[in-house]
């Protein structure tokens, strides 16, 4: 934006950028439209328009009821992994980022260097050794196998650290200490409120990572009762390809829609927080 002048709106630029907008939205539109079709309707109608009969609510009912309500079970599992995994990751990143930003202690540089170095190690390259280690410890095929690795978010730590450096004036911490507040009390009462937008940002991004996690649960879990939604949906989709398996594409599509709605809603409603969190926090160099 140049100076104090408001730049003129450009219809041409809006239309050109609109191409990317359409590209981003068409698959989501396709998903919604096709979630309103019966299995037969999927095959004999045009993909980007509705059929005469609107079966969305039937489909939702069928998705939730199929196979004794296993979809609901997967949803609850996903919620468990998100609350404990992403919640724990947010707490650890907030504590750690604050500690790195606001204290000097021996080994601080080493912690920084190791964590930043670890970002370059492909997370999935760690997956097989982590699986072997966890299986020795008897943790595979339990929720812990999914939750514990989710607790670490190097990006979250980095974002909190930059955010804390900028958002908390040292003078304020000094003042709280002068008033006789302990370190924990200073942190909880004085600093956490100032860190709130950063915390929401980290929480949202770790939540997306846990909610959308596929590779880790794929290798850690055998028992479908512990599957998150992502594994469950893929299992439903593969069912059509197996001999004698029942094709349930309408349930795969409706289930996919139900899976993405909570995250889309969270991003829409918390926009104000995560956008300011990103702008002040981790993305500045």
């Amino acid at each position: 934006m140049l100076g104090a002048k408001r730049p003129r709106r450009s219809p041409l630029l809006t239309v050109l950028t609109g191409i990317v907008l359409i590209y981003s939205l068409v698959p989501l539109g396709w998903l919604f439209i096709n979630a309103t079709k019966s299995q037969a309707g999927l095959f004999d109608s045009f993909g980007l328009w509705f059929t005469g009969d609107f079966s969305l609510f039937e489909n939702i009912g069928a998705t939730l009821a199929y196979d004794d309500g296993v979809f609901v079970r997967w949803l609850l599992n996903t919620l468990l992994y998100v609350v404990l995994g992403a919640g724990g990751a947010t707490v650890l990143a907030t504590l750690g980022g604050y500690g790195l930003a606001k204290f000097d202690f021996p080994g601080k540089r080493a912690v920084f260097a190791t964590v930043i170095g670890a970002v370059a190690v492909p997370g999935t390259a760690l997956a097989v050794p982590t699986f072997l280690m966890f299986s020795k410890l008897g943790l595979t095929n339990t929720p812990w196998a999914v939750i514990i690795p989710s607790l670490i978010s190097p990006f979250g730590l980095y974002l909190m650290c930059t955010y804390a450096t900028q958002a908390i004036p040292n003078g304020l911490m000094e003042a709280a200490r002068m008033d006789g507040a302990g370190e924990l009390r200073t942190f909880l009462r004085v600093c956490v409120p100032l860190l709130a937008p950063g915390i929401v940002t980290v929480a949202l991004f770790t939540m997306v990572a846990t909610w959308n996690n596929y590779f880790l649960p794929l290798i850690m879990l055998k028992d479908p009762d512990w599957y998150p939604l992502t594994l469950g949906l893929n299992a439903w989709n593969d069912q059509a390809a197996t001999a004698g398996g029942q094709a349930i594409f309408h349930l795969v599509i409706t289930g996919s829609l139900l899976t993405i709605l909570p995250l889309l809603a969270a991003f829409l409603f918390l926009q104000r927080y995560w956008q300011s969190g990103l702008a002040t926090g981790g993305v500045k160099d």
């Binding site: 100076g3 607790l151 795969v252």
Partner: protein
């Protein structure tokens, strides 16, 4: 006192990051034989990986993916970020949120959706062929599959990168724009001389993250496998190779070796890009 706050993170980090790396290195030095059990073999596994055509085929494939998909995605993301930041769009808040939305969609759902659309049974490609009497090429055919995966990955991450660029553009100091205005710079001049240099650090970070992501490619081809079983082999990407070595082949030692070699390649490429990127800045 600082350790009190950092300690919990470091403890879990050591358990889920450092311990598996150490364990993978340890495993890669052993080999299990049918006769004689598991024995120490030194660097033999690395020698095997070095001449393993399946490994290099998969590594070559993700490298090709990297050099084509990453520039397209980042360029699109940059264009949209600049367009939104220019203040010349109608409904810019809507653009920002809508283009970002696919990031919240799990890779599984994104791949299932695009997989359905690619399909000829009730997919969009089939629909368009029927309605217009065309015969568009099959996106799931051997020639096009990698490009089709690239399209899915681009769709998933273009908005995320756009938002990172846009956030960085937002914190460019106003004084720089004022100085440019005094110098009589036009829109392109402002982009070329102020905006791009101001976000070069973020561009570099996004490039490195995208490189790491490409080398790790797994979810999308793994999920598409049921649609194109003959095209997507068990060694389609290095990660799929490591996965199938472990879980279908029980060759844990060699699988760990493949993971480590790919990790080293990733670190080296990411480091080289970073060096080049920072040197150009001076």
């Amino acid at each position: 006192m600082g350790w009190g706050f950092v300690g919990p993170f470091v403890a879990v980090f050591a358990f889920v990051f450092l311990a598996p790396i150490a364990y993978a290195i340890w495993l890669s030095l052993f080999r299990t034989r049918l006769i004689g059990g598991t024995g120490f073999v030194g660097l033999d596994n690395y020698g095997q990986a070095f001449v393993d055509p399946q490994f290099w085929e998969s590594a070559g494939r993700v490298s090709l993916f990297l050099v084509v998909q990453v520039p397209i995605m980042l360029f699109l993301a940059l264009l949209v970020a600049l367009a939104i930041d220019s203040g010349r769009l109608y409904g810019k808040a809507f653009f920002r949120v809508a283009v970002f939305m696919p990031y919240a969609v799990p890779a599984v759902v994104a791949t299932l959706m695009w997989g359905f659309m690619y399909g000829s049974r009730f997919g969009l490609v089939g629909n368009i062929n029927d309605v217009f009497g065309l015969s568009l090429p099959d996106p799931l055919s051997p020639d096009l599959l990698l490009a089709s995966i690239g399209n899915i990955v681009t769709w998933e991450f273009v908005g995320y990168n756009m938002l990172i660029f846009y956030s960085a553009l937002q914190v460019v100091p106003q004084s720089l724009y004022e100085a440019a205005e005094i110098d009589g710079a036009d829109q392109w001049g402002v982009i070329r001389w102020i905006k791009l240099p101001a976000i070069r650090g973020v561009l570099l970070i996004a490039t490195i993250f995208s490189i790491i992501g490409s080398f790790q490619l797994f979810n999308e081809p793994n999920i598409l496998q049921s649609l194109a079983p003959n095209v997507i082999t068990t060694h389609y990407t290095p990660n799929m190779y490591a996965y199938s070595l472990s879980f279908s082949g029980q060759q844990y030692d060699y699988s760990a070796t493949v993971a480590i070699v790919m990790g080293i390649i990733t670190v080296v490429v990411a480091y080289a890009v970073q060096l080049r990127g920072t040197r150009k800045g001076h």
